[in-house]
Structures are given as structure tokens and as C-alpha cells.
Amino acid sequence: MAKVSETPLLSPELLAQLERLELVTRKIFRGRMKGERRSKHKGQSVEFADFRNYVPGDDLRLLDWNLYARLDKLIIKLFLEEEDLHFYTLIDASMSMDFGSPTKLEYAKQLAAALGFVGLIRADRVRIETLAQGPGERSPILRGRQSVWRMLQHVESIQSGETISLAEGVKNFCLRNAGRGVVVFISDLMDKEGYETALKYFVSHQVDCFVIHVLSQEELEPEVKGDLKLVDCEDQDVAEITVSVPLLNRYQKTLDSFVKGAQDFCSRRGIHYLMANNQLPVEELVASHLRRRGLVR
């Protein structure tokens, strides 16, 4: 079901806003290519880091000839290396994400595009994937401002309808991507088997993980009445309810505890958690909430 959103993923205003941002991670990862981030590795940059003795095999270009002339010792001058950042965005494109207005998936795609854009202009390696991708299927790694168009095209092409459990999807993702970096996982976490296993994979994979929990307004404040047969869009599971005030109150409590539970789970494991209402504009989410969480700067 090809759904073409009327609104572009990134509006010019948003782009202008995003240009001023950059992705941040608390951890320093090893990059693949030269980028704009300080790396653990010593390398070529203008910033001096250290000296060390020359051992055979070192690049002679790195010798500090001045010191050799003065001390008659081969000393290598180390500089800080600047590398790029692996920035992954994992989108849950399950059926349940195809609800709300805008749909949660659209919202997720917008968010992914926005964050990807930030990554691209900062010369980070950006990869946007979905849960259902098998271990072999990889999305292209994008890098540089010139790839924005490709990234947008890729994000646009993401369709809902995946039927894979969270845990399986995350596991596959981890298998696919060995490189460590920042992972933004956008999902509604609505999996009957629980989200805990899935998130644990991230922890063990030692990535800097952000969980953006997208919930639609219909889920947050359901406007239903009467006797209903609720049908789960994913597994056609049925729940019969008779809507009443106590029931709604009870739902609110359950929802609150669900959100709170996810938050607690994440914060205990060093995962950043952010609950996003699909009514909240992406601009605001990125510029304000994510900034406060420390994903962007």
C-alpha cells in the first residue's frame, strides 16, 4: 500500500532549523572514515595529542624531525584523529504504526528524516532501517550533504505492514550493523511479547541508544463510546469493551504505567527515552525535546 504523504518529510523551515544542529553522543566511537568528530584514534588533524617512540612500521611522515635533530631519537608526533559518527535510525514500520493523524509511521519517518539530515550535514554516516529488514538486507549508508535527496527517497519508500516482533527486528538490526554509534529507535513499543528483550539487544550491542516512543492521540486519549469490539490490526486479536468512565480511567492508568514502565526500563539501562505524541510537531520535538535529551546540539 503505497502511501504518499502530502506533506514533504522535511519542510524548508525545518531544514533551516536543522542545519544549525549536530548529533551528539556521550560515547566516542570508532568511525570508519574521516569525519568531523574527535576519535579515540590518533590521526591526522591539526590538534596535537602526544608523542611516542617510533617503532618500525610507523609512517615516517609522522616523525618529528625537529626532535630527532635535537635529541637524535625517533619520536612520532601524534595528532588527534577526527572521524565520522555512525548514526542509525531504526523505524518500527509495523501495522500498529499506521494509525493516527498523522500516522505514527509518518511521524517516525519525519523524525528519522530530520535526524538523518542533521547527521548528513555533519558528515556522519547515516543509515535508516526498518525492523523487518533481514540480516542480509542493508540500507545504504549515506554520507554528506549531497546524499540528502537519497535519504529522503529512502525514507519515503518505507511502508507499514511489517509483521515482525520487536525483539526479532532489533536482533536482526544488531546483526546487520556491527559498527557502533548512535541508534535512534522509533516505535510505539506495542508488542504483546514486550519490548524489554528488544531493548536489551541495544544495551548489549553497546550503542548509544535513543528510544523515541511514538503514541498517537487516539491511544493517549481514546474517544470511543458504546459497546465495542476492538480488533487488533496486527494479529486480529479481539477485546470486547463497554466504554464507561471507570473503564476509561482504568485505561488512562494502564497507559500511564506502560509509559512509566518503559521510561524506567530505559533509564535503568542507560537508554535515552522520549515519549512523543504524534500531535507534537517534529520541529518542536527535535529542537526542544531531543535537544534537552542531548541527542542533538
Binding site: V224, D227, S244, P246
Partner: protein
Amino acid sequence: MGMIPPAIFALYFLKLKRQPLEVPSTYLWHRVIEDLHVNSLWQRLRKSLLLLLQLLVIALVILALLRPGWQGQSLEGRRFIFLIDNSASMSATDTKTGITRLEDAKSRVAALIDQFELGMSAMIISFAEQPNVVQEFTNNRRLLREALERIEPSAGLTDLTGALELADGFANPGRVTVDDAAGEFEVTEQQDVELYVFSDGKFRGVEGFSLGNLQPLFLPIGTFEAQNLAITALNTRRGEERPEHQQAFIQVANFSDQTQTAIVELYLNERLLDAARLEVAADSTSSTTFNLGVEVEGILRAKLDIPSDFGDRLSIDNEAYAIVESRRDARVLLVTPGNMALESALSTERAKRLAKVEKVSPEVLQKDEFLKQSQEETYDLIIFDQCQPKTMPLANTVFVGRIPPTNEWTQGTKKEPVYGPQIIDWQRSHPLLNLLELGNVQIIDAQTVKPPLGGRVLIDSTKGPIFSIAPRGRYEDAVLSFEIVGTDEQGQRTYNTDWPRKYSFPSFWLNVLGYFSNTGGTSSLHNKPEKLVELRMNSQTEKFEVELPDGSRRELRIDTPGRLSFHETGQLGVYKVWEGGKLVKQFAVNLFDRAESDIRLRVRQEDEDGVKVVDSLSIGYVDVSAQSLSSPVRRELWKLLLVGALVVLVLEWYIYNRRVYI
């Protein structure tokens, strides 16, 4: 009908056809439902609130269809007339709460008025001796209640006839039947009027009355067990052995099922004179006589002192009043050539007690001495038998067989005697003819006598009036136009009538003496409450003041000199007549009515269970049976129930739509 609630119940347990709604995930909902299942019983109850409400609605509807009702007083009809008895017996306090019967009746009427619905109108008539329209037809409840408050207990006897006639007049205004050649047409539309009679039924039925549109309903008030002791007579008279001594005669009646002893106290001018213990058997009377002594004068009051263990329910008949006047013997002059029958009639024992009769022959009439005496008010009454004076004396006169020598009388009298007149009617209510039976009196010849203006014909015969009475200034002249004994052509004494052989003859003359002698005036007669009292006054004044027993005064102007009529006699007690600050006359008004004093409800029959049934009221040819004491009509509830069902339905709708739980 009874299947509906189970059906609803069954329907409720059928699988509800729920509207499917696709949601992102039932994840949260399942957890919600599980949570709710934990405290399920209460939840289930709350969940089935709608079911309960539906069952309630159906229950109400079913109840409404069953037409529940209770015995209550209800008003059915549009126009009502409430007849409220306020006679003496209605002052009895034998109701449950101890209030008087009248108060009970009033509260019942008030309760009925409270039930008034739109378009209902009512009028209230109180009745005792006289009916009184307290409130004309109105639908204004406030007016009706105010009118109800205005009804005061009276001491009068009960007479329903007047009230019925009044009600009839109001109920069928302008009920005119046009007697046409083609038949009778009702001019106005007939409208049924509910007639509620609140009474204790202490009166005989009403005869000769057609109810027409009136739908009577008799609501008896009172009990069968009400006991009462009453003074039913208080008289003063001269002693049999010693005529100079006055005696008071008191009769006490016991209206209860047991013999009762009571003390009768007699007060003269509020001073205790004597007391006597009287034992009165159940449903009978007992009497006693008190000696008052010589030359007593004043107000006599008899009071019944009843032991407190006897539940005397009516107090107004426990006192009685009488006026004792010092008696000046009336002087009566009989002018007759000789009339054995008349003379013996005027010389009986009782006649002697009433008056001192002097007898002279007609020759005296010519004497100057008589003329002088006759102009000096020496005599109270002069009886001219077979003779007549030249001028009328200043005294009351009775002419027998002659006509007074005045123009007024002679003009209306035919010279020729009539032969064999048959008496066809006589004024029984007139004191002169009180308690007389004259139908058997034969008369040979008589003159017809037509009274002058202001006079009355007292005895009418087939040939014309033969006994008339007419006022002459302060005096009255009665003319009996036939001789009792006469003289025929041969000068023999002959009897003109067989009247002297009848019982009525001496009674008539006693009446004459009583009526014309001042002492035997109306003050000693029994004046009934609410009845007109007529007094003969000696003075020519036209202005009098009457002091009622409660002390209030009424100014009175009289049209006919010497006659005072007073009708405001609703109170029991002594009335005083003042003339320019001088007490000229007193009269007492007493109940003395066995029917009113016997306050027990009349029993028609006792059925097998011993339940007494109140006797019905007969009005005309209709027997209006007494409605049960408390509850005449069935009250319906279904309207209320349906309204209740509607309310519940609305509530259900609201709950269903607003998802509200109370």
C-alpha cells in the same frame, strides 16, 4: 406481561453485538480489561446498571398496567357542592383526635379541596337550622379554604331541606323547563354535580325533594359509641299545692348504653340554689323538681355536673337557662250574659294559675265605671261574649260571636250569617291555636269575619274566615265570629257549636289566657336556637338593643309597635332586651332537642360480624347510603408510575449516552 422482565434478562445475557473498531493494538485494552476483572462483582453490578434500569422501567410499567390504587377520598367529577352540617350535634368531640365533628368535617373537605384538579369548581354550604352559602362556586382553592375556616359551630338543629334546595338552585342555575305543546325542553345543559354531605345524620330524611343532577354522597361523621348526657327540659311553673311557690322542672336524658348518675346544679342569678343527684337509665330520661320559693326573679341556670369517667362528648347541652319572672296575675274580664262552657273553661286549675278572671254581665258595659276602667289599662284582656262595647277598651280583647265596633272590622264582615261552616284550616303555628285539633268541631251558624289590614285569619272555613286576629295599636283583637251559646228567637239558650265538648275547647282558652296575659308571655316559652323569637313589648319605642349571651349587642328597630322579632339566636343562653338603658325583657334560648343531643350515629343494622352500618340518608325517594367512614373512592396510581417510568427511561438514556456512572 410477566414474561417481559425474564426476556429482558435473557436479552441481556445474549452476546452483545458489538461494533467492531480497529485499533493499533489491543495490548493496553487487554490489560485494562484484566484489571477490571479483578474487582468484578461490583463492576458487574455497575455494568448492569442499565439492565437494572430497564427492569425498573418495565416493573413500573407493569405496575401501572395493574392499576394499583388505594382507598382514598378522591374527587370525581367537575362540580362539587360540600354541605357541611354545623348543627349542635356537630360540636361533639368524639373523633379520634378529639377535635369536634365539625372540625373533622372541615379537615376532610380541606383534604378534598387539596385534591382539586384543573377545571374543578366547588361551593360550600353550611347548614343547621338554616342553610348558609359560605362560598359560591369557585375554582379558587384559597377562597374555598378561607370559606371553610369561616364555618363556625352553631347550636342549631339540623334541617337539610333548605341546604338541598339551595344546592339545587346553585347546581342547576336556570334550570327551566319550557312547557311547550310539543313537550318539555330542558333549557340549560344538564350537568352533574357531586353533592357531598358531611353530617352526623341526626335528622330525619328529606321528603319531597328531587335530586335532579345532584349526585349525593353522604359522609357520616362521628361514632356509634359517643355518649352524652343532656338537659332536655327546664321549666318554671307554680307549685301544684302552693301556687304562690315557683318550681323549676328539670329533665335529664342519658344517651348512652349504661345507667349514669349526674348532679344537676341549679343557679339563680349565678348563685347556687340547689343541687340534686339524678340517676338516669340508659336511653331514658329522668327528671327532678326544685322549689324556688316565693317571689323569685332572675335568670335560672341549670348545670349538669357529669363524673369525669363518663365520656360526655357534647357539652353545649349540659347547661340550660330559664327566666323566672315575678308574676303579676293577669287580670281578665269576662263580659257575658251567661256561658257555662266558657266560664268553666276559664276557671280550671291551670287557668287560675295564669290569670285572675272576673266575670260581669253585659249591662256593666253601659256604666261609667267600666268606661273609666277600660281606658285605664286595668285589664289585660277583656272577653266579650255575645256583646260588644261602644268603644274599644285599652286592652286586648276577644270577641265571641260579635264583631268589634270599629270600621276596620265591620267593613269586612258580612251581615248575613252563614250556615254550617266546616273548618278546613287553622294556623297551628299561632300560639292561640297551638296544639289544637279543630277538624271535628261542628258549627251551626257563624259570620264570616275578614280581619282589617295587618290582621291574620286564624281559622278558615268552607264559608269563609271565622276566627281572625288583628293588632290595634299595642293591643290585639281576636274575633271568634260564631257564638258558643246563643239565644234563639224564643230567647232560649242554645248551643251553637259542639266545641265545648271537645278537648280543644279548654286548651284554646288556656292559650288565650297565656297569649294575652303578659305573664304568660313568650319569655317562658322554649326558644330554639336559630329560630325567630317574637316578643311582645309593652312600650311604643321603636329602638331596642338586644344583648346576646356572649355580651355583644345588636341594635334593633321594630316596624310594628309592640312586637319585637329577633332572629340572631344562634347562641344558647339568656338574651336581654334593653330599651334606652333599661332592661325590659329577657329570654332564654336552649337546645332541648333529643335528636341533637343523641349524638350516636344512627345504626341501620348490625351484620353477622357485629359491624355497625350507618343508616342511610333518605332524600326524596333516594336512599343515600353512608360512605364508609374514611374512604369513599379508589385512588389510582398509574399516572404517577408511568411518569416514574418515563423519568427512569430518560435517566437510562442519559447514562447510556453520557457513559456516566453514578
